[in-house]
């Protein structure tokens, strides 16, 4: 018999090794007293409210260990498998399909994206009829927004290509390889600054859905009510401070020594980013709560992440932790 086929009796052994590894990893992950926070992104300017709240919570005796993962999917898996306590993102599909009682409990920020076109080719939504656009990934919020707008303006795109990362799409726009796309605030500002007059932002109706929300297993939330309340109180306080005065985030960053190695170019973007966020109302003063849950269910159903009719907020959100925190910060 052939040499390579002699390896196949080792397959059950391989399976045993994989399963043993998975079990051991899960078992080790159970220990630890601090809140393990899974972030599905790199820590940058937009995470400053979180970092400020984490530092303030630490002073109140709640240690929050923030770990950056490659993507929201990985952060979600970490929470589902018990390797992280709190996750950040909007994994509605996972919560609906995976048989683990994970619930959202706080809206960190609402979606804020900007449909952008190269004015040499397009000037309005109607011009995008029969044209190619680039969005983040299949089933992402950026795709949902662009499809929602196409429906509103009664147009059809020729093709929707998937280019992950606002920064990558921004470079594509500047290089001319992408002519119409959708960017986050920081990259929209970057593109408009790099090529003044070359791009235009298309009008977007009010899209009220979560960009980032906190989620955890119900068991964790039940067992750690006091620690979760302290973290939520600090998050709410930071958002309220920024909405009142966006400069507060710059001062808090300096006082707490956060993101010290930020390049000067990005440092200059902190204030404009939070001024725009405060103006656009994307940082909620009240943690989103029931209205955020309702908006999210509508939006993520349209995005294709959620399936089925008569979706209930209670199957995705738990409101008790937020209510407890709001009662204390009033």
């Amino acid at each position: 018999m052939h040499r390579s086929f002699k390896m196949f009796p080792a397959m059950p052994l391989l399976a045993v090794m994989i399963l043993a590894g998975a079990y051991a990893d899960g078992a080790w992950a159970q220990s630890g007293a601090k809140i393990r926070y899974a972030l599905g992104d790199v820590v940058s300017v937009d995470e400053l409210p979180l970092l400020i709240a984490v530092e303030r919570a630490k002073k109140r005796g709640v240690a929050v260990e923030v770990t950056s993962f490659k993507s929201e999917d990985v952060a979600t898996q970490a929470v589902i498998n018990g390797q992280a306590d709190i996750g950040q993102g909007t994994p509605y599909a996972a919560i609906q399909k995976v048989n683990v009682p994970v619930r959202f409990f706080y809206q960190m920020s609402a979606l804020q994206f900007f449909p952008i076109v190269n004015t040499q080719f397009y000037k309005s939504w109607k011009d995008l009829d029969g044209q190619e656009i680039a969005v983040h990934t299949r089933g992402s919020g950026t795709e949902a927004i662009m499809r929602l707008m196409a429906k509103e303006h009664k147009i059809n795109y020729k093709n929707v290509s998937f280019v992950p990362g606002s920064n990558v799409r921004a470079l594509g726009l500047l290089k001319g390889t992408i002519k119409a796309s959708i960017l986050d605030a920081a990259n929209k500002n970057y593109v408009m600054k790099e090529a003044p007059g070359k791009f235009a932002i298309l009008p977007l109706g009010k899209v009220q859905a979560s960009d980032e929300a906190l989620f955890a297993t119900q068991a964790f939330l039940q067992k750690n009510q006091a620690a979760v309340a302290i973290l939520l109180e600090e998050l709410i306080k930071v958002n309220r401070e920024i909405n009142k005065d966006p400069k507060s985030v710059v001062a808090a960053r300096k006082a707490l020594g956060l993101l010290k190695d930020l390049p000067a170019k990005l440092e200059a973007e902190i204030l404009p980013y939070f001024e725009e966020a405060a103006k656009g109302g994307i940082l909620p003063n009240d943690g989103g709560g029931e209205s955020a849950a309702k908006n999210d269910l509508e939006f993520y159903k349209l995005a294709g992440a959620l399936k089925g009719e008569n979706l209930k907020a209670g199957d995705f959100w738990t409101f008790a932790p937020l209510k407890a925190a709001l009662a204390k910060v009033k």
Binding site: M1, S4, A22, Y23, P91, V98, V168
Partner: protein, 274 residues
């Protein structure tokens, strides 16, 4: 089995090893292999039902998901997209890679010029090079073809080079003794002798190409099988995600196994150095 049996018989007189080997005849070996697969898939099924993780689907659900994706055409569409950069990349390696390898084997100047680059490429971690490729060549087909070429080329080049260099000196001497010219030595002795190793290089290059194309589809832009994996992961359809992963592993394994069989048919054991 005949090759192994002969070798064993010739080295060890007496009938015991031969009889022991014969007891593991083709039928029995096949039974062992099948039971190995059954055990593996059975353990997968049990682990999915246990479950080892809430996102780990049983084997049966993965098979159903694979059938669904095959039926709705998404799998075929994904392979059409994934195979494009893979085939282009392997063709490039087949022509340029083998050419460079032969050149390095025949000429010291080409060897000194090319060998360091090939060794660096061989040692470089692919995932770390992907951002470089995207900054230079964008996010389209070119970048994915390059990812395949960067993964496959070093193996193809090195095998071709070693094949030429390892040609039996006595055969070369014999050709010269018959007043063969350098061109005749290369065409009638060196290249035929190196053909088996060149073919092995192409087969191993294809294995690396499969790795390269999937890395590119996961790290550059999600297309083809990479898109199926990322999309189904993002919408928590884990059985479809596992089905996409299992399908590409199976396709790669079967393709490489087929090529290895072909290699055995095309090149006799003494040329392969087996």
């Amino acid at each position: 089995m005949p090759r192994s049996s002969n070798r064993l018989n010739s080295k060890t007189p007496g009938r015991r090893p031969a009889r022991r080997l014969a007891s593991y005849g083709p039928d029995r070996t096949l039974a062992w292999q099948l039971s190995s697969f059954v055990l593996f898939f059975g353990m997968w099924e049990a682990a999915g039902r246990w479950p080892v993780s809430a996102a780990f689907p049983p084997f049966s659900q993965t098979v159903v998901a694979l059938a669904e994706m095959a039926a709705d055409g998404s799998l075929a569409q994904a392979y059409a997209s994934t195979l494009q950069p893979l085939v282009i990349g392997i063709v490039i390696c087949g022509i340029a890679g083998v050419g460079f390898g032969i050149g390095m084997g025949l000429s010291r100047a080409v060897e000194w010029f090319t060998l360091p680059v090939v060794i660096i490429l061989q040692a470089a971690p692919m995932a770390a090079i992907i951002p470089l490729i995207t900054y230079m060549y964008g996010i389209g087909l070119t970048a994915k073809v390059l990812a395949v070429v960067f993964m496959a080329a070093p193996v193809v080049v090195m095998n071709s080079y070693k094949g030429i260099r390892n040609t039996s000196p006595s055969l070369v001497e014999m050709c010269r003794a018959f007043l063969g010219t350098r061109r005749q030595v290369v065409a009638k002795v060196v290249l035929p002798y190196a053909a088996a190793l060149i073919f092995t290089g192409l087969r191993l290059g294809l294995a690396m190409g499969f790795i390269g194309v999937v890395i590119a589809e996961l790290l550059i832009t999600p297309t083809g099988i990479g898109d199926l994996i990322t999309y189904h992961s993002s919408v928590a359809e884990y059985s479809k995600m596992f089905a996409a992963i299992a399908s590409i592993v199976t396709v790669a394994a079967l393709t490489l196994y087929g090529l290895e069989r072909l290699e055995h048919v095309l090149f006799p054991a003494e040329i392969r150095g087996a």
